[in-house]
């Protein structure tokens, strides 16, 4: 990995209007993504984790301009996509592709596998002749471990893991630099997940790809990512190198999230302390004032409930949005009572 920045996201906001009544008046907004900032370096895999509704999928889609962001910048190789027209965005899409979560819903059931994979080649005018197209499709199928003789079959004839391979072949068709993988393994069986992850890793090395890997499975994200960002209610809570995040989390939400992941080791599991969060995620239409996590945080003070913490670099290359990140280092919720405001 080098330090060349491929994707630069600055204060990205994606709000969806809530409309009501006969006049369809806008009465509010779902703040799905509410100001996130990060860079993705060329060749790295940035993991994005969080619970459902935290905005991770919306973040991925608005980076690819599948949604037009409400505010903020998304620079791809230095060009701000949010300011460009539909034509130049379409041209840029050749270099940025997506792998979807549900391999059952993301493939057109009426199209043969060969046509599905060839579609991006035609849309972007990459191949000049039918023969060239056929060769490229065969090449792509081989690359993702699909038998080339299956090119005339329909998606329903494949298993979930094979369908995900078709989705990957389609994403690779335009030889992109950057791929958003939106929960690519969560619909697959456990024994198949590792096959797909190994394939993604192998392709990244061979083709020099850069991934934004969106998932809720933190063990898998740790495995595949160079750096990991933790989102909560449309905000980035913490962002750092993947080993640093897992060994030395600073944000109380990250700590709770990590402690909730079960580890397949019974004696260890019995010893582990759970930080059980109370309650549920607040509605993104009506987020709490101050820190978004303050309603569930075992350490929250009045200061947290009124002033939103800044997303800052607490230690080198370790970004966190918490007023008390340093003070809470190594503190368990049981000790929270004696804590006072700094």
């Amino acid at each position: 990995m080098n330090d060349e920045v491929l994707v630069q996201v600055k204060d990205l906001k994606m709000h969806f209007p809530i409309r009501t009544g006969v006049l369809n008046r806008t009465v509010g907004a779902i703040k799905a993504v509410d100001g996130i900032t990060f860079d993705i370096a060329k060749g790295e895999t940035l993991g994005l984790v969080g619970e459902s509704g935290c905005g991770k999928t919306t973040a991925g889609r608005s980076i690819l301009q599948l949604y037009r962001p409400t505010a903020g910048e998304v620079a791809f190789r230095g060009n701000d996509l949010a300011r460009q027209g539909p034509d130049s965005i379409r041209r840029a899409r050749r270099h940025m592709q997506m792998i979807f979560q549900d391999p059952y819903a993301s493939l057109n059931p009426h199209m043969r596998v060969g046509e599905i994979i060839a579609r991006p080649l035609r849309v972007h005018g990459i191949t000049k002749s039918r023969r060239e197209e056929k060769e490229m499709v065969a090449d792509l199928m081989a690359k993702v471990g699909l038998n080339v003789s299956f090119r005339d079959r329909f998606p329903h004839e494949f298993s979930g893991g094979q369908r995900q391979r078709i989705g990957i072949a389609r994403a690779l068709a335009t030889s992109p630099d950057f791929i958003v993988c939106d929960e690519p393994i969560s619909a697959l069986d456990v024994s198949i997940q590792a096959q797909i992850i190994n394939l993604l890793e192998q392709l990244r090395e061979e083709l020099g790809l850069t991934y934004l890997f969106i998932a809720h499975d933190l063990s898998m994200v740790r495995y595949i990512s160079t750096r990991v960002g933790v989102m909560y209610l449309g905000k980035m809570m913490e962002l750092t190198g993947s080993d640093e995040l897992y060994q030395h989390p600073l944000h109380p939400y990250t700590k709770a999230l990590l402690s909730a992941i079960p580890i397949p080791d019974p004696p260890l599991e019995r010893q582990r302390q759970r930080i059980l969060l109370e309650g549920d995620l607040p509605s993104p239409a009506n987020p709490p004032p101050g820190c978004k996590f303050s309603t569930r945080c075992p350490f929250a003070t009045d200061h947290c409930r009124t002033v939103e913490p800044e997303f800052r670099e607490a230690t080198p290359r370790h970004w966190v949005a918490c007023h008390y990140a340093e003070a809470l280092d190594g503190v368990t919720p049981g000790q929270a009572k004696g804590m006072t405001r700094q």
Binding site: I192, Q195, E201, S219, P266, E269, L277
Partner: protein, 364 residues
């Protein structure tokens, strides 16, 4: 035992007429009578007769569940784990499905021999069920209170008022704030985790001896999953209920289970006490599953060892061990005959001709 569990919750129903002492004496007798096993499944076999042919969903599985024990059944989609527990409750849709063999001994009664009426009393009574998706298993146009009292009244003779009070107590027990008020809410007014709590409250409403939970946390986020797992653990130790927990998540199982049964293609291929299974897996499939999982606490990155190939198609005649096409240890004997589930260590049984080989391999 019903009353014993009712006693530990703050019910105001006043229906616990049985003195606690006689209840405990009663359960002691049953402990002596059948070594505290409450459910014993033997050679259970279920097939589906479809237009494409016979689907061998369940090929003679045997296991038992003790009082207060948590048995986890682990397997991938299509391994037969859900069909297995639906067969216990005789909830297999027929046609096309049919239970073609085996016995299900629940406290001395063979559930496959009793009439439908008696079976209905057991379902949602002594055995209750928690489904995977709390969204589709609650009636969206019925208030939560009405749904819980309905299941209470189906198994207990209480007045509506008493049933409602009990429903509120149950909601309080599963950790729902302001329970009396929330009885008037509809399912859509609850979040996913809260809905699963409601399902657990309904499952507990009959003070069951056995709760069957079919992937109850799969649809939930990890922090909510942790809440639900801790809740079930707590209720289980307080009420002494036995649990069959169906899951594909080996992490959750490590936290919760006492015993684990691993299923593949309608067979139990390995069964062991939880610590033993993770420390010394003996079946190549179990070993493969454990090796294909990245661990959150991993120190350095080693390449994941995926299990190659695809899960088997259960349609048609099976010969030999179903894991053969994906197994690196397979030999001719594996292709010819399905190995029996045999004990390799106390309480640890494996269905593999090469268990000694794999046993050694796993340790190395």
């Amino acid at each position: 035992m019903f009353e014993a569990s009712g006693r530990s919750q703050p019910t105001k129903t006043g229906q616990q007429a049985t003195p606690p002492i006689s209840v405990e004496a009663g359960s002691d007798i049953s402990v002596q009578a059948n070594h505290s096993t409450i459910l014993e499944v033997r050679n259970l076999e279920t097939k589906f007769y479809t237009v494409d042919g016979v689907v061998n969903a369940l090929n003679g599985i045997s296991y038992s569940v003790g009082k207060g024990e948590c048995l986890a059944i682990v397997g991938e989609s299509g391994s037969g784990k859900t069909v297995g527990v639906l067969s216990i409750l005789r909830l297999i849709q027929s046609p096309p499905g049919r239970i073609v063999g085996g016995t299900i001994d629940f406290n001395g009664t063979d559930l496959l021999k009793i009439d439908d009426r008696a079976m209905r009393k057991i379902r949602g009574g002594a055995i209750s069920f928690i489904f995977q998706d709390p969204m589709t298993s609650l009636n969206p146009v019925m208030r939560i209170g009405a749904q819980i009292t309905e299941s209470i009244l189906a198994h207990e003779s209480l007045t509506r008022r008493q049933a409602r009070a009990k429903a509120a107590d149950l909601l309080a027990m599963v950790g729902i704030p302001t329970p009396a008020k929330r009885l008037n809410d509809y399912p859509h007014q609850f979040s996913g985790g809260m809905r699963q709590r409601v399902m657990i409250a309904m499952a507990l409403s009959s003070s069951p001896q056995l709760i069957i939970a079919d992937e109850p946390t799969t649809a939930l986020d990890v922090t909510i999953q942790a809440q639900i797992v801790e809740l079930i653990k707590k209720l289980q130790s307080e009420l002494g209920t036995s649990v069959i927990w169906i899951s594909h998540d080996l992490g959750v199982v490590a936290r919760l289970a006492d015993t684990v049964a691993v299923m593949y293609a309608g067979y139990i291929v390995e069964k062991a006490p939880v610590d033993d299974l993770y420390a010394r897996p003996a079946h190549p499939y179990t070993i493969g599953l454990l090796n294909s999982l990245p661990r959150l606490d991993a120190r350095d990155k080693t390449k994941l060892q995926a299990i190659g190939g695809l899960p088997p198609n259960l349609l048609g005649r099976l010969q030999g061990c179903p894991f053969v096409p994906r197994c690196r240890f397979s030999t001719d004997i594996c292709r010819g005959e399905m190995p029996p589930l045999a004990e390799v260590a106390p309480g640890h049984a494996v269905a593999c001709w090469h268990d000694r080989l794999t046993h050694g391999d796993a340790r190395a």
